[in-house]
């Protein structure tokens, strides 16, 4: 018994497994509450979850949909997490994402002669640059005037969305009744990763960026400075780190990563820029970031979870008449519960194992 416990502790330590277990508990618990709600509204919860689950993981296509839906959240979640690591709360992801999408689309339609190998990276980088600049702006304001980034980024969301719409309408609109750019050339489309699933290599780009940021945090001097500013500004100053510079730089990186969410949607899914395409990826990104404990690998996991719920919701909506809003409720609950490990510990203590879990905090 004791050996088992030792082994267990060791495993947990080794892999951060305990957090994973808490998170799984949270998800199960949220689903349970959701089931009660479904039951109360006069539907069959088992049926609902059957479709929810198969819709997310049932076959290759569905699994691909799960991943597909997680891609923008990987970028937006990561963008928020980067800000948090430096102690900055970037709520301006949405605006940065619009700039990314817009610029990527404009570049892609403006350079139709280039081959995909060159055009895709150029278009994405241009988008990242635009988003980076849009992110740097509130960073600069904060560094220069002390203007709180929460306020400025909220405002800049609206400004960014309106500004891209303005530019689109006045300079880049495709003929026709819809406010959108022309369709990007075929070679600018990010190729599919699994044929006929719409899942593209954008996911691989996402993983790449995750790894890159992970590396930035743990293995570079810049990442060190960024985290130092986030953890203790006074000590960072003491160390000679230029806090204003890191503030601007962090917001730039964060904005650039956010912009990739827009860029990959344009090149991978929509194949053009269209007004109002984002259902709030930026705001969900906040949830994804903090759910993932602001760590790159955590962001990936959280984004996949959200992707799965979204993909599952599609099936559930198609094949039952349970409203998708209930899944939104479940999503909210998952976030609340995962955010509160001690709740799960309290709950699991009812099942006996808990004491030990509590003690291991």
């Amino acid at each position: 018994m004791k050996i088992l416990r030792k082994l267990w502790d060791w495993l947990k330590e080794l892999s951060g497994l305990s957090e994973l277990i808490y998170s799984l508990f949270a998800i199960v618990f949220a689903l349970l509450i959701g089931a009660i709600l479904i039951y109360l509204s006069g539907h069959d919860a088992l049926d609902a979850y059957y479709y929810l689950f198969t819709g997310a993981f049932g076959n290759t296509y569905n699994l691909a949909q799960t991943i597909l839906k997680s891609i923008p959240l990987i970028f937006t979640g990561l963008a928020v997490a980067i800000g948090f690591q430096a102690g900055l709360f970037n709520i301006g992801i949405e605006g940065q994402l619009y700039w990314g999408a817009f610029t990527t689309a404009v570049v892609a339609v403006s350079l139709p002669g280039l081959s995909g190998f060159i055009l895709i990276p150029i278009a994405l980088l241009a988008g990242a640059l635009a988003g980076g600049i849009w992110g740097a702006f509130p960073g600069y304001l904060k560094a220069k005037t002390g203007a709180h980034e929460v306020i400025t980024t909220i405002m800049l969301n609206y400004v960014g969305i309106l500004a891209t719409t303005f530019l689109l309408k006045n300079f880049f609109k495709a003929p026709g009744p819809v406010d959108q750019t022309r369709t990007i050339p075929t070679q600018a489309r990010i190729p599919e990763l699994i044929p006929n699933t719409r899942l593209t290599w954008a996911f691989v780009i996402g993983i790449g960026v995750i790894l890159l940021i992970r590396y930035l945090f743990s293995n570079t001097s810049l990442g060190y400075d960024l985290q130092a500013v986030g953890a203790n500004t006074s000590a960072a100053e003491y160390a000679g780190i230029s806090v204003p510079r890191i503030t601007v730089l962090t917001m730039t990186i964060s904005g650039a990563v956010a912009a990739l969410a827009g860029g990959t949607i344009v090149l991978g899914v929509l194949n053009r820029f269209i007004t109002n395409f984002s259902p709030g990826y930026g705001f969900t990104g906040i949830a994804v970031a903090v759910l993932g404990r602001n760590r790159p690998e955590g962001v990936l996991a959280a984004a996949l979870l959200f992707g799965a719920l979204d993909a599952g919701k599609v099936s559930m909506q198609l094949f039952t008449d349970i409203p998708g809003d209930l899944i939104t409720v479940v999503q909210g609950l998952v976030i609340l519960l995962v955010a509160a490990p001690s709740f799960i510990r309290l709950f699991s203590s009812l099942f006996g194992r808990g004491r030990e879990l509590i003690a291991s905090e």
């Binding site: 743990s218 001097s221 060190y224 985290q227 953890a231 006074s234 003491y238 160390a239």
Partner: protein, 504 residues
């Protein structure tokens, strides 16, 4: 009758047994000292008594009756007051607000500010604890803050007062003041528990002493029947040298020179004015002064952490005064900051990451912006070994280290930078005897290697043992420059008080 009787108190944090079956009896009306090294468990024991921590075992009796204190509010109701090691004050609130919160006088629905201020004034007169009831905490000196802490307890009519290392941040005059107040409190019938690891103070003020080591009680002694050497031995568990020897030195070239330095600090209304001094190679120049007379401005001005108005800061013949902090570090200035948790360490970072704070862009820890793990770990392990940093290896978070070990991390880091100048501000604040001895030795070794050292300290003993010369800051100006050998503590104290400028 014992005012406080604690029996077999045990408190465990994770894997640390902070208190291991500790007994403590404090007689009514005495000043009882709890003595112990950093991490011995003194604060923990008192936090248990005050209801901040739930004990894992043991009983508590007050005036012979068993009590079950689980919350500070219960302790307060039982007449216990505690002055915490880290002041429990809110910077942005006024002195009065800090004192009356939780037991506010009311007028109708409102807080009766006038009565409250009046009460604070009365209390402060009664016990000779001078403070301005309307001042904001962030604008008053540490000594004043200390007095506010005591007034907080008195306002709640505490009969048993716990003072957790109250002298660590005080100047000699302030310590004298505090001791006077403590005696007055004792005379008015209150019981005092006084925590320290300064032996001299213990001998001076207390009636009895309980010694803790590694969470265990080593013994209790009558103050009159013991001596510092024995106490040190009980605390540390081995013989300690209480004061280090300093080798004589010869005149040498000037290594560091400050000319006409002016550093304004509008927030606190302190201005460092026209400061001139030189430090020779292999010399320790002490800076004495009552806290808040420009020491912080000097320290931060020299490091580029605070904008200066005018002046030159010459390291060799290079003027640092317009360089960013990072550049000054690069040029060989090591800096032990006065506020270690706020400035010197990143509590959430691991030990090894803290070791490269400030040199994260420099070889060999960084290669064109990419960190070199191996070099960092090797370096960390060396420093841990050389400076005897206890509490875990390269990967522990420094948050979990005791104060003394945290200070060693900073000192280890800064002294191994191969510095051309050391600015050491309060290097032994809140550090125990064993560690003080060690840090002093290190600083003297650096001096003997020919490095100029600026030592800013509030500890007169420290200044006198380590410094070759001492300058005294008073209201932002240097009012005296004296030979450390030739000045005694009384004279220094007077200079610091700005009273007797002709002593020089």
């Amino acid at each position: 009758m014992n005012a406080v009787e604690m029996k077999g108190i045990t408190k465990i944090f994770g894997n640390t047994v902070a208190n291991d079956g500790v007994d403590l009896s404090v007689e009514e009306g005495e000043i009882h000292c709890i003595l112990g090294e950093n991490g011995a468990g003194k604060t923990t024991l008192m936090n248990v008594l005050f209801g901040l921590y739930d004990r894992d075992g043991g009983e508590i009796y007050l005036h012979g009756e068993e009590v079950d204190v689980r919350k500070p509010s219960q302790a307060i109701d039982l007449g216990i007051g505690m002055i915490h090691q880290n002041f429990m004050l809110v910077d942005r609130l006024s002195v009065t607000e800090n004192i009356v919160a939780g037991a506010e006088p009311k007028k109708g629905l409102t807080l009766d500010r006038k009565t409250a201020e009046e009460k604070v004034r009365r209390l402060s007169e009664q016990y000779g604890l001078k403070v301005d009831p309307r001042a904001r905490i962030e604008n008053i000196s540490v000594g004043d803050q200390q007095r506010v802490e005591i007034l907080k307890a008195l306002h709640r009519e505490a009969e048993i007062l716990i003072l957790d290392e109250p002298t660590a941040v005080l100047t000699p005059q302030e310590v004298e003041d505090l001791f006077r107040v403590m005696r007055e409190l004792k005379d008015s019938g209150k019981t005092l528990i006084f925590i320290t690891h300064k032996l001299k103070e213990t001998m001076e003020i207390t009636d009895r002493i309980t010694i803790l080591r590694d969470g265990k009680k080593i013994g209790t002694a009558e103050t009159e029947e013991t001596n510092p050497q024995d106490l040190a031995q009980m605390m540390v568990g081995r013989d300690v040298v209480l004061s280090v020897e300093k080798s004589p030195r010869e005149e040498s070239a000037v290594g560091f020179k400050v000319k006409g330095l002016n550093v304004p600090n509008p927030e606190n209304n302190i201005n460092l004015k026209d400061v001139d001094f030189e430090v020779q190679k292999g010399e320790i120049l002490g800076v004495a002064g009552v806290e808040g007379n420009g020491q912080l401005e000097l320290e931060e001005g020299l490091m580029g952490l605070r904008p200066i108005e005018s002046g030159e800061v010459l390291l060799g013949d290079r003027d640092l005064s317009n360089l960013p902090t990072r550049k000054r570090k690069r040029l060989g200035v090591a800096h032990i900051p006065s506020d270690r948790l706020r400035r010197g360490l990143i509590a959430d970072f691991s030990l090894k990451r803290n070791m490269i704070l400030g040199s994260e862009w420099s070889k060999p820890y960084s290669n064109r912006g990419f960190l070199d793990r191996n070099n960092i770990v090797t370096y960390t392990e060396e420093v841990v070994e050389d400076f005897d940093i206890r509490g875990g290896g390269a990967d522990v978070s420094v948050k979990s280290l005791s104060g003394g070990n945290q200070q060693k991390v900073i000192i280890g880091r800064e002294l191994t930078r191969d510095p051309d100048l050391i600015i050491a501000a309060q290097p032994t604040r809140g550090v125990d005897v064993g560690a003080i001895e060690y840090i002093h030795r290190q600083l003297l070794d650096m001096r003997d290697e020919g490095i100029p050292i600026l030592l800013i300290s509030a500890e007169l003993d420290e200044l006198r043992t380590l410094s070759d010369r001492i300058i005294v800051l008073y209201e932002g100006e240097i009012v005296a420059s004296v030979d450390a050998e030739e000045v005694d503590e009384r004279e220094l104290g007077l200079l610091m008080a700005g009273e007797n400028a002709e002593v020089r």
